[in-house]
C-alpha cells in the first residue's frame, strides 16, 4: 500500500478533530477532538517511519501518547472541578479569564 492512503486518512482525522474543536462547545467533546488530532499526527509519524525504515517516528509517536495522556488528565481534572462547582460545561460561558 502506498504512503498516500495513510496520509489521506491522517489528514482526514486531523480535519475532523479540528472542525470538532471549532464547532463544539462541550469541553469533553473538545478533549475527544484533541485526541483525534494527536492520533492523526501519530498515524502520520508511524507511516513515515515505516516508509523511511527506521524507528525514530515510532519513538515520537510514543512521546505524543505520553503527552496526550498528561493532557487528558489535566483536562478531565478541570472538567470534574467545573462539574463539582456546578458550573456550565460550555467553553463559551467560561470566559472570565479574558484579559
Amino acid at each position: 500500500m502506498s504512503i498516500e492512503w495513510y496520509i489521506v486518512l491522517s489528514s482526514l482525522l486531523f480535519a475532523i478533530g479540528a472542525t470538532g474543536i471549532l464547532l463544539r462547545r462541550s469541553p469533553i467533546v473538545i478533549l475527544l477532538c484533541l485526541e483525534l488530532m494527536l492520533n492523526a499526527g501519530n498515524l502520520a509519524l508511524i507511516a513515515f517511519s515505516r516508509m523511511v525504515g527506521n524507528e525514530e517516528g515510532q519513538i515520537f509517536a510514543l512521546v505524543v501518547m505520553v503527552v496526550a495522556a498528561c493532557e487528558v488528565v489535566i483536562g478531565l481534572g478541570l472538567i470534574v472541578a467545573l462539574f463539582r462547582r456546578r458550573l456550565p460545561l460550555d467553553v463559551d460561558e467560561l470566559r472570565e479569564l479574558r484579559g
Binding site: 471549532l22 464547532l23 473538545i30 467553553v91 467560561l94 470566559r95 479569564l97 479574558r98
Partner: protein, 669 residues
C-alpha cells in the same frame, strides 16, 4: 605650632560645638549647651590669638601660608584642595569673627534664657561661626563659595529662628533668595577665573592674573562685576540690600552677630582679598565704590526716618558697610578693614543695647513708644551712648579714626575720589544725626509705661505676647520668642559682653592714630604690599586735617540732633509737614522694595504664568498626553482580539497554520 595648625583648630572648634549640641540636645541641659557653645567659640578665639602670635614671630615677607588637608576634588587637570590660606588679612578676620562671636554667645547665654529651642539657637550660632571662619580662611575659590553658601544658610536659619512667626519666615526666605543671587554671581566668577587662569587657588590666581590680563580687559571686568554681585548681596549694598532690614525679624543676638558685625562684612573681605583682580578692572572697582557711596547716603537718609529701633540700626549698618566697600574699592584696603573691625565692636554693642531695651519693652521695637530709659536702665543707657558715640565718630572713639582713615585715603587719591570723600563726610553728618536721634528719643524724657514699670517694681513689663510688626497674638512656646528676654541689668554675662565691646568701641581706634601708632596697618601691610594702590599714603597732616573735619561734622550732627529732638521737639514735625515728599521717600525706604517688585518679581511671575499657561499646558502636556493616548489606543485595538472565547483562539491558530502551509506549498511549487 605653626600659624596654619592654629587656624585649622580655629575652624574645627565651632564645628565640633555645633555638631555636639545638635546631636546631644536631648541629653544635655540647656545651660550646658549654652556654655559649650560659648566655650567652643571662646577657645577658637584663643587659637586665633595663638595664630596671630605665631604669625608675628615670622618675617613680614613670609607671613602667608597655604595649608591643605587633602584634595577635595580632582578633575580635568584641576585639583581643588581642602586648603586654607593664612595671612594677616585672614588672621585679622578670624580674630574679629571669633572675638565678637564669643561676646555675642556670652550675651545670648543670658538674653535667650527663657526661649524654647535654646539648643537649636546655639547649634545654629556655632554653625554660623564655623561657616564664617571657613569663608575667611578658605585658600581657594571653591571653599570660599562653600563658606559663602553656608553663612547664607545659617543666616536664613537664624532669621527664621522663631519659625511660627510668618513675618520671620518670610524675611528668612527673602534673605536666602537674594543671597543665592549673590552666590550665583560668585560661582560664575569662579568659572570664568578657572577658564582664564586655570586654577582656583588664591596664590596662583593672583600671581597669574597680571600676566594674563591687561588692565581694563573686559574679561577681568566681567569677573570682578560678578564677584561684586556676590559681595553686594552678602553685604546688603544697593540694589541687593532689601533683605537686611527685614532680617531684623531674627533674635537680636543674631542681628548683632550676623547682620551687623560679621557676615555682612564678607563682601568687604572678598574685595580686599581679590584686590589683585580689582586693580586690573578699574571700571568694576569704581562701580563698587559708587555703589558703596550711594548705599551709605541712601541708607543714612532712611535711618533718619525709621521708627523701628532695630531697623534703624540695620540701615546704619548698611551705611557703614557702604563706607567699607567704598574704602576697599578705591584702594584703602587697610582702612576699610580697620573700619570693619571697629564697626564690628560698636555695632554689635548697639544691637546688644537694642536687645536689652526691647526686652524691657516686652518685645516692642517702636521708638515712638520709648522714652525715659536713662532713669530705668542706667547701664544699658551708658552702653547705648558709648556705641552711639563710636558710630557717630565722636572724637577719639574708634569710629572717629577708622572712618576718617578711609576718607583721608579717598582725598589723597584725588580726582573723582575727592568727591567721594565729600560724600563720605555728608554721610558722617547723617550718621551722627540718626544715631543721636535714636539716643535722644529713647533715653531722656519722661519714662514711658514700660520704663516706669521697671523703675517702680524692678521687674520687666510683660504685655500679652504679640508680633510687634503685625500686632498678631502669639504664645511663648517653641517657634515664638520666649516668655521674656533679659536685660543687661539682670544678667551678668550680657553686661560683661557689653562692657568688653564698649572698651573696644571706645579704644580700638587707638591702634591706628595717624602719626602716633601704626599697629593695624603695619600688620596688614604684607597682605597688600603687592598692590600698587597700597603705595598711596595720605600724609599725617592730611589725616589730622581730615580727623578735624570729621570731628567737627560729628559734633555738628550730634548738636543738630539735640536741637531737633531735645531742644525744639516741634521742629521734626514741622519738617515732616514741609518736606512731605522727601519724608515719604525716606519712610518708604526710597521705594526700593516696590521697584524691585515691579522690575524683577512681577516680570518673573509673568514669565512663570506664561510658561504655565502656554508652554506647560500646550507643549509639555501635549507631548505627555499624546504619548499616553497613542499607547492606550494601540492597547485598545489589541484588546479586542482577547475575547476569552477559546474556540475563536483555536480558529485563529488553525487559520494561521493553514495559511502558513498554503504559503509554503505555493512557494515550493
Amino acid at each position: 605650632m605653626s600659624a596654619t595648625t592654629w587656624a585649622w583648630l580655629v575652624l574645627l572648634l565651632p564645628l565640633l560645638g555645633s555638631i555636639s549640641i545638635a546631636l546631644g540636645f536631648r541629653a544635655i541641659p540647656a545651660r550646658v549647651a549654652g556654655i559649650a557653645g560659648t566655650a567652643a567659640v571662646g577657645l577658637a578665639f584663643a587659637c586665633a590669638v595663638a595664630a596671630l602670635i605665631a604669625l608675628l614671630g615670622e618675617e613680614p615677607e613670609g607671613r602667608h601660608h597655604a595649608s591643605s588637608l587633602w584634595t577635595y576634588a580632582s578633575a580635568g587637570g584641576l585639583d581643588i584642595d581642602l586648603g586654607i590660606y593664612v595671612d594677616p588679612l585672614s588672621v585679622l578676620m578670624i580674630l574679629v569673627v571669633t572675638g565678637v562671636s564669643t561676646l555675642i554667645h556670652l550675651y545670648s547665654f543670658g538674653y535667650m534664657r527663657s526661649d524654647e529651642g535654646y539648643h537649636r539657637f546655639f547649634s545654629y550660632l556655632n554653625f554660623f561661626v564655623f561657616s564664617m571662619l571657613l569663608l575667611v580662611l578658605a585658600g581657594n575659590f571653591v571653599l570660599l563659595i562653600v563658606g559663602w553658601a553656608f553663612v547664607g544658610f545659617a543666616s536664613y536659619a537664624l532669621i527664621s529662628f522663631w519659625y511660627r512667626r510668618t513675618t520671620a519666615t518670610g524675611a528668612g526666605m527673602k534673605a536666602f533668595v537674594i543671597n543665592v543671587v549673590g552666590d550665583i554671581g560668585l560661582v560664575l566668577a569662579a568659572f570664568l577665573i578657572v577658564r582664564e587662569l586655570g586654577s582656583f587657588d588664591y596664590e596662583t590666581v593672583f600671581a597669574r592674573a597680571p600676566e594674563v590680563f591687561a588692565q581694563g580687559e573686559w574679561t577681568i571686568t566681567a569677573i570682578c562685576l560678578l564677584l561684586l554681585v556676590g559681595a553686594f548681596a552678602k553685604s546688603a549694598q544697593i540694589p541687593f540690600h532689601t533683605w537686611l532690614p527685614d532680617a531684623m525679624e531674627g533674635p537680636t543676638p543674631v542681628s548683632s552677630l550676623i547682620h551687623a558685625a560679621t557676615m555682612v562684612t564678607a563682601g568687604v573681605y572678598l574685595i580686599a582679598r581679590t584686590n589683585a583682580l580689582f586693580y586690573l578692572a578699574p571700571t568694576a572697582a569704581d562701580i563698587a565704590a559708587f555703589a558703596g557711596l550711594a548705599t551709605l547716603l541712601v541708607a543714612g537718609t532712611i535711618a533718619i526716618a525709621m521708627t523701628d529701633l532695630k531697623r534703624a540700626i540695620a540701615y546704619s549698618t548698611m551705611s557703614q558697610i557702604g563706607y567699607m566697600i567704598m574704602g576697599v574699592s578705591i584702594g584703602a584696603y587697610s582702612a576699610g578693614l580697620f573700619h570693619l573691625m571697629t564697626h564690628a565692636f560698636f555695632k554689635a554693642l548697639l544691637f546688644m543695647t537694642a536687645g536689652s531695651l526691647i526686652a524691657a519693652m516686652a518685645n516692642r521695637q517702636d521708638i515712638d513708644r520709648m522714652s525715659g530709659f536713662w532713669k530705668a536702665m542706667r547701664f544699658t543707657s551708658i552702653m547705648f551712648v558709648i556705641g552711639g558715640l563710636a558710630l557717630a565718630a565722636f572724637p577719639l572713639t574708634s569710629g572717629f579714626f577708622s572712618k576718617d582713615s578711609i576718607l583721608a585715603f579717598a582725598e589723597a587719591r584725588g580726582g573723582m575720589y575727592f568727591w567721594m570723600a565729600i560724600g563720605g563726610y555728608v554721610g558722617a553728618l547723617l550718621t551722627a544725626l540718626y544715631t543721636f536721634r535714636l539716643i535722644f528719643r529713647v533715653l531722656p524724657g519722661r519714662p514711658c509705661e514700660e520704663a516706669q514699670h521697671l523703675i517702680d517694681t524692678g521687674e520687666l513689663y510683660h504685655g500679652p505676647p504679640i508680633n510687634p510688626a503685625t500686632e498678631e497674638k502669639e504664645d511663648s512656646e517653641v517657634g515664638f520668642p520666649g516668655a521674656e528676654h533679659h536685660t543687661a541689668e539682670q544678667s551678668k554675662p550680657m553686661a560683661v559682653a557689653m562692657a568688653v565691646l564698649a572698651c573696644g568701641a571706645l579704644f580700638a581706634g587707638l591702634v591706628q592714630v595717624p602719626g602716633v601708632t601704626n599697629v593695624l596697618f603695619g600688620f596688614l601691610e604684607p597682605a597688600f604690599d603687592d598692590s600698587p594702590l597700597a603705595a598711596i599714603h595720605p600724609s599725617v597732616a592730611h589725616e589730622w586735617r581730615g580727623l578735624a573735619i570729621g570731628g567737627v561734622i560729628s559734633l555738628a550732627g550730634i548738636g543738630l540732633a539735640w536741637l531737633l529732638w531735645v531742644a525744639r521737639p516741634e521742629l521734626p514735625g514741622l519738617f515732616r509737614a514741609r518736606l512731605r515728599p522727601v519724608y515719604q521717600l525716606c519712610l518708604n525706604k526710597w521705594y526700593f522694595d516696590e521697584a524691585i517688585g515691579l522690575l524683577v518679581v512681577r516680570p518673573a511671575l509673568a514669565i512663570g504664568r506664561f510658561a504655565d499657561s502656554t508652554f506647560e499646558r500646550l507643549v509639555v502636556d501635549g507631548i505627555v498626553n499624546g504619548a499616553r493616548d497613542t499607547v492606550s489606543g494601540a492597547g485598545g485595538l489589541v484588546r479586542v482580539l482577547q475575547s476569552g472565547f477559546v474556540r475563536s483562539y483555536a480558529l485563529l491558530l488553525v487559520a494561521g497554520v493553514a495559511g502558513l502551509t498554503l504559503y509554503f506549498l505555493l512557494s515550493a511549487s
